[in-house]
């Protein structure tokens, strides 16, 4: 799979075209509902040759090709999931900017909440321990010292 991605990257990256700005007027679908779906989906798809840009914002030729491909699938009657699955089949999971919570990726999604729970837990435990420490009686020596001070 990675070989394919690499081949695509090389093929597309070499002939550097002039800047084609993100979504072009001629790409826009006549049906506004379909176009809206295409735009929303595009925001979650990575331009493979770019650095961390989605295909909706990217100026690269490959991003343009992916935008057109995505629109073709939608026009052909694919659902959102089918259209995205079509691209994932071809370009791999790498194309998704929002990694699906499957397999080890679950770690990525639960890391934040787990950390929050741990933080709250530690804070609470520390708090209770401190509360108990406070509740402890004064020691014999401290009591004597206190009496001494009060006498003065």
């Amino acid at each position: 799979m990675r070989g394919v991605v690499l081949a695509v990257m090389l093929a597309v990256a070499l002939p550097v075209a002039g800047p084609a700005l993100a979504v072009q007027p001629d790409e826009i679908l006549a049906d506004p509902a379909l176009e809206k779906r295409a735009r929303d989906l595009s925001k979650g798809l990575r331009c493979l040759v770019c650095r961390n840009e989605n295909i909706d914002d990217s100026d690269a030729q490959l991003a343009k090709d992916l935008r057109i491909l995505l629109r073709e699938r939608l026009v052909a009657g694919d659902t959102d999931e089918e259209a995205v699955a079509f691209l994932v089949d071809r370009y791999g999971e790498y194309v998704l900017l929002n990694p699906p919570a499957t397999g080890v990726n679950i770690l990525l999604w639960v890391a934040g909440p787990a950390m929050l729970l741990a933080g709250v837990g530690i804070a609470f435990a520390t708090f209770r321990r401190r509360g108990q420490a406070r509740a402890e009686e004064l020691s014999e020596a401290e009591r004597a010292r206190l009496a001494e001070i009060l006498k003065e």
């Binding site: 799979m1 990675r2 991605v5 002039g18 800047p19 084609a20 700005l21 993100a22 979504v23 072009q24 007027p25 001629d26 826009i28 925001k43 979650g44 990575r46 650095r51 961390n52 840009e53 989605n54 914002d57 791999g92 999971e93 790498y94 194309v95 998704l96 900017l97 929002n98 990694p99 397999g103 080890v104 990726n105 990525l108 999604w109 890391a111 934040g112 950390m115 929050l116 933080g119 709250v120 804070a123 708090f127 401190r130 509360g131 406070r134």
Partner: protein, 656 residues
């Protein structure tokens, strides 16, 4: 000749840094005043040497000395002077020199402003600062020397990346570095305190201004970068969750947590170990950021040309400093006994919650940023983590933070009452809810983002104002106004910074929720509607710039027949660098920006044109400026200027 002197000064600076990192440390351990005193002149001399070296490199750039390989690859004789200067730090080697210069500057500042520090603490702080200097000077001299000469100098240079030839980006790195490197002071103070085994209120008071200053610089630096992305990249986005943006955002979040927890140390002598840990982590995240930007393991828009040796070296620096500091922390944290105790409902608890939320959100950003690397190395899954993930995983923490902020900010220290604390906030809550409902009713698309943003923004801003007003006490308006002026600067700072956060939250959600976009082909002379406006493409012409060729459109924006603005969006080609850029034309307004971009010519003689209405865009930068201003106000508080209590602590008292 000057270049050689600069190179030599850099090597001398390394020698001085080695002295600075050892002699005062030994002196502090042996209570030898003479040895401890070596730190002061060493820090100043190191700063002067690095400063000279930086000036020498700037001189080489300004005079276009193409015998330096760095100047050849990043400059050009035709480039305007300001970009010749900013070209000094528009590359890996030069920016590293700026990094070290600022590091040395902070060390020298500790000498100049640290007159009232106990000599032992100061000696240790300077020594730790010196160690960081040694590491980075070595890194620069061994792997990234800016002073390398070419045997056969070319006639002209290869020009600076055109994207960097921009006023916003010219000053973005210095501010960011002031922030990143400023956190090294908090780190040095934390390590010095661990060596000393003592953290008290005075320590909190010393460390807080440094953190605050670093945070203010980071805020400005991030805002400048975001503003640059907004007007330069050509589609009106302002934040992309790019690894390099994240690299600056993580230390910002941790520094925000740190400057809040340092208040607890200063006022209540609690949360000491946690504050020390945050100070270590804040600088750790700065180093992680440096690693991300300069190693190239995580590809990003801003990454400098990179090389694995450098990555390994930075990882080594990161490992040594974090490993050392955290080991020291593990050994000594137990000695940091808390004095002040507090109830579940109290200002302290609220600040703990603030700290947990900020730290966890920084951790989420960190995890998302490195996850592609981890997944590929350990699980052989090549994947991306981008904007949709961060929006989903990060935003809840911001929402939680915004919800508790007004309540926590007004909570009394030690023990409070949630219901009583809520009393001055009821009107704010009602106002926030009704404003949110109004936004819901007025908007066309039924997205919850806009109304929730309005609600939270009003809640935080109103809470900050209400808190401030409550501080003036009771009684007649005149009396309260008089007291208002006498409130400490720290209270002013708190109000302004928290208000700024409210404004920022509102602006971010408004921009995401209510942006208007239009993409179409327009014939010269043709016009089209954009929201309430009518936009006319008057003409498109070729214009020759100093070092670029521009395709410039003239576009008139009108509203009901009246001209609102005449805008000139451009497409530029920089022939030397062989790179095109888009220069959007923006009509900045109080409630909205009109944002126009000219695209490619079409076959039928028309031009592709993209237009946006960006609602409340200026409020975003305004909110960031308010946050930075709040930090500055707080920094000028009387208690830092007179440093009351600083001398009260006798020298050499062992751990409490």
């Amino acid at each position: 000749m000057i270049v050689e002197l600069g190179h030599f000064a850099l090597i001398l600076a390394l020698a001085v840094a080695i002295i600075q990192s050892t002699v005062p440390l030994i002196g502090a351990q042996r209570r030898n005043a003479a040895w401890m005193a070596v730190g002061d002149p060493a820090a100043v001399v190191q700063f002067l040497l690095v400063g000279f070296s930086f000036a020498a490199l700037t001189y080489a750039f300004v005079t276009s000395d193409f015998s330096l390989s760095l100047v050849v690859s990043n400059s050009h004789t035709l480039k305007p002077l300001i970009y010749k200067i900013s070209g000094v730090w528009g590359n890996h080697e030069g920016s590293l020199l700026l990094w070290v210069l600022i590091l040395a500057l902070f060390g020298a500042c500790a000498v100049w402003f640290g007159g009232n520090l106990p000599p032992q603490l100061k000696a240790r702080v300077l020594a730790v600062q010196g160690m960081i200097g040694v590491a980075f000077l070595l890194f620069m001299l061994l792997t990234s020397n800016p002073f390398l000469r070419l045997e056969v100098p070319p006639l002209d240079g290869q020009d600076l990346n055109p994207l960097l030839q921009d006023p916003g980006l010219a000053f973005h790195p210095p501010f960011l570095y002031l922030g990143y490197v400023g956190l090294s002071m908090s780190f040095s103070f934390a390590v010095a305190a661990l060596i000393e085994g003592r953290v008290d209120a005075a320590w909190g008071r010393w460390v807080r201004p440094w953190t605050l200053a670093a945070w203010v610089f980071l805020t400005i630096g991030i805002a400048l970068g975001s503003w640059w992305a907004y007007y330069e990249l050509g589609w009106g986005g302002f934040w992309f969750w790019d690894p390099v943006e994240n690299a600056s955002f993580m230390p910002w979040l941790i520094a925000a947590a740190l400057l809040h927890s340092a208040i607890v140390v200063e006022k209540r002598e609690s949360l000491k170990a946690w504050t020390i840990l945050l100070a270590i982590l804040a600088f750790g995240f700065s180093l992680v950021g440096t690693f991300i930007v300069r190693s190239g393991v995580i590809t990003s828009v801003h990454a400098f040309a990179n090389d694995p040796d450098r990555g390994v070296f930075i990882l080594l620096i990161l490992g040594v400093f974090m490993g050392g500091a955290l080991t020291l922390f593990a050994a000594r944290a137990g000695a940091m006994e808390a004095k002040g105790i507090f109830g579940v409902v109290s200002r302290e608890s609220a600040l703990v919650t603030n700290n947990i939320l900020l730290a966890v959100s920084a951790f989420v950003v960190f995890f998302g940023t490195i996850w592609p690397l981890v997944a590929e190395m350990l699980f052989d899954r090549k994947l991306s983590v981008g904007e949709p993930f961060f929006n989903a995983a990060f935003s809840p923490f911001v929402v939680a933070l915004a919800v508790i902020l007004p309540l926590g900010a007004m909570m009394p220290w030690k023990r409070g009452d949630a219901l009583r604390g809520m009393r001055p906030l009821w009107p704010v809550l009602v106002l926030a809810l009704s404003m949110g409902a109004l936004a819901w009713a007025m908007q066309t698309g039924r997205s919850a983002l806009g109304p929730v943003g309005v609600l939270l923004g009003v809640w935080v801003l109103g809470g900050a104002l209400s808190d401030f007003w409550t501080r003036t006490g009771r009684g007649a308006l005149a009396g309260r106004m008089a007291r208002l002026r006498r409130l400490p600067r720290a209270d002013w700072g708190k109000m302004v910074a928290h208000g700024g956060l409210g404004v920022t939250i509102f602006a971010v959600s408004a921009m995401l929720a209510w942006k208007v976009e239009d993409i179409r082909v327009v014939q010269p002379g043709g016009s089209y509607p954009l929201g309430p406006y009518e936009v006319t493409l008057v003409e498109v012409r070729e214009v020759q710039g100093p070092n670029y060729i521009s395709t410039m459109a003239e576009m008139r924006v009108t509203r009901e027949g009246e001209e609102v603005a005449l805008l000139f969006p451009e497409k530029r080609i920089y022939p030397v660098a062989g790179m095109p850029t888009t220069e959007a034309a923006i009509d900045y307004g109080f409630l909205r920006d009109v944002y126009l971009v000219i695209g490619d010519p079409q076959e039928n003689g028309g031009w592709a044109v993209r237009s946006y209405i960006e609602p409340f865009a200026n409020w975003l930068w305004g909110g960031c400026i308010l946050m930075a201003l709040g930090g500055l106000l707080s920094l000028t508080d009387r208690r830092y200027r007179v440093a009351a209590g600083a001398r009260r602590v006798p020298d050499g008292v062992p751990a409490e």
